[in-house]
């Protein structure tokens, strides 16, 4: 039982952390972020399985994570009010060609970063962008004129 409870605790802890850290940081992995991810993974493993070296323990943890993932996905699908909490909401960064600087500031995105994202979408100038939306996965979608 303790294994399931520890896994559930860590699952929701990671859910809260990822929602709190922000989607941009998680979608663009710098080398530092990759190393931090590995360190966090190691710490999580120690906290969840502790000294357990068994296949039974591994199966229990994976099963718990799978059930929790499907359960939160189902809840997000069925209960609209939970969706912003579990997955976040798309955030408009450019609307009708006008850059929303407050939205950029809150998401810690600079104009230069927005420009870089636009270049990766084969857009030559932000003036050509009609809408830019920060999606829940951390990617930025662009709609041009």
């Amino acid at each position: 039982m303790d294994l399931v409870l520890r896994t559930a605790f860590v699952f929701f802890l990671i859910l809260i952390v990822t929602r709190a850290v922000g989607r941009r940081e998680l979608s663009s992995m710098e080398p530092f972020d990759v190393i931090l991810l590995v360190v966090i993974g190691d710490m999580v493993q120690q906290g969840v399985t502790q000294s357990d070296y068994s296949l039974t323990g591994t199966t229990t943890v994976i099963a718990t994570l799978a059930v929790l993932t499907v359960a939160t996905g189902y809840l997000s699908f069925r209960v609209g009010r939970l969706r912003p909490l579990l997955e976040g909401e798309p955030i408009v960064l450019i609307a009708n060609g006008e850059i929303r600087r407050e939205a950029l500031r809150r998401q810690r995105i600079t104009i230069d970063e927005l420009g870089a994202e636009a270049r990766q979408s084969q857009i030559g100038s932000l003036r050509d962008v009609r809408f830019a939306v920060l999606e829940t996965g951390g990617q930025i979608s662009f709609v041009t004129d």
């Binding site: 039982m1 303790d2 294994l3 399931v4 000294s51 357990d52 070296y53 068994s54 296949l55 039974t56 323990g57 199966t59 229990t60 994976i62 099963a63 718990t64 799978a66 059930v67 499907v70």
Partner: protein
């Protein structure tokens, strides 16, 4: 370019939408059952108590009946003497130590011997009415899998006073 989409749209429904869906649901059901079984402590390691009593002493053992490889666990033995016991000895079946790391026995036994494969721990004499608690800390070797005899006997020298028959299941 549109033929890449048209072929998909006009073709047979992908198996992911029918058989694949039911296969996923079946797999998730199996995983959910694993979680429920684990929540019910079937996969270890909730401790349970077993007791035995005789005219001379009462013996109780609190230890898990199911453990997993690598786990640390405690077995707690309580002896209550109903009359003076001059040479109290705990006789542990071989499953207590086979494939186990014995981290500590507290209080330490005065002596340790072997009797037909069992381990015999000797302790100081007990007065009538005296109670003694012995805590033993173990860790399961990951390669130690199966059912082990976890019997426990309290002797006064060579005379059996109380006996608990138990089995320890070690999951892979």
């Amino acid at each position: 370019m549109t033929e890449l989409f048209r072929d998909l749209a006009e073709g047979d429904p992908p198996r992911a939408l029918n058989r694949g869906l039911w296969a996923r649901r079946a797999a998730m059901t199996v995983l959910a059952v694993v979680v429920v079984v684990a929540l019910l402590d079937v996969l270890g390691q909730r401790a349970s108590r077993s007791s035995a009593a005789g005219p001379a002493a009462a013996l109780s053992l609190r230890a898990p009946k199911v453990v997993r490889g690598g786990l640390l666990f405690e077995s707690r033995v309580e002896i209550t003497a109903r009359r003076a016991i001059d040479h109290p000895r705990l006789v542990l079946a071989d499953g207590w130590v086979e494939g186990m790391q014995v981290n500590s026995v507290s209080p330490d036994a005065e002596g340790t011997t072997s009797r037909g494969g069992d381990v015999v721990l000797s302790f100081p004499a007990l007065r009538a009415g005296e109670r003694r608690t012995i805590r033993m800390q173990f860790q399961v070797d990951p390669t130690n899998v199966g059912h082990r005899s976890y019997d426990l006997e309290l002797d006064d020298a060579e005379t059996a006073l109380a006996r608990i028959d138990r089995t320890l299941t070690i999951l892979p």
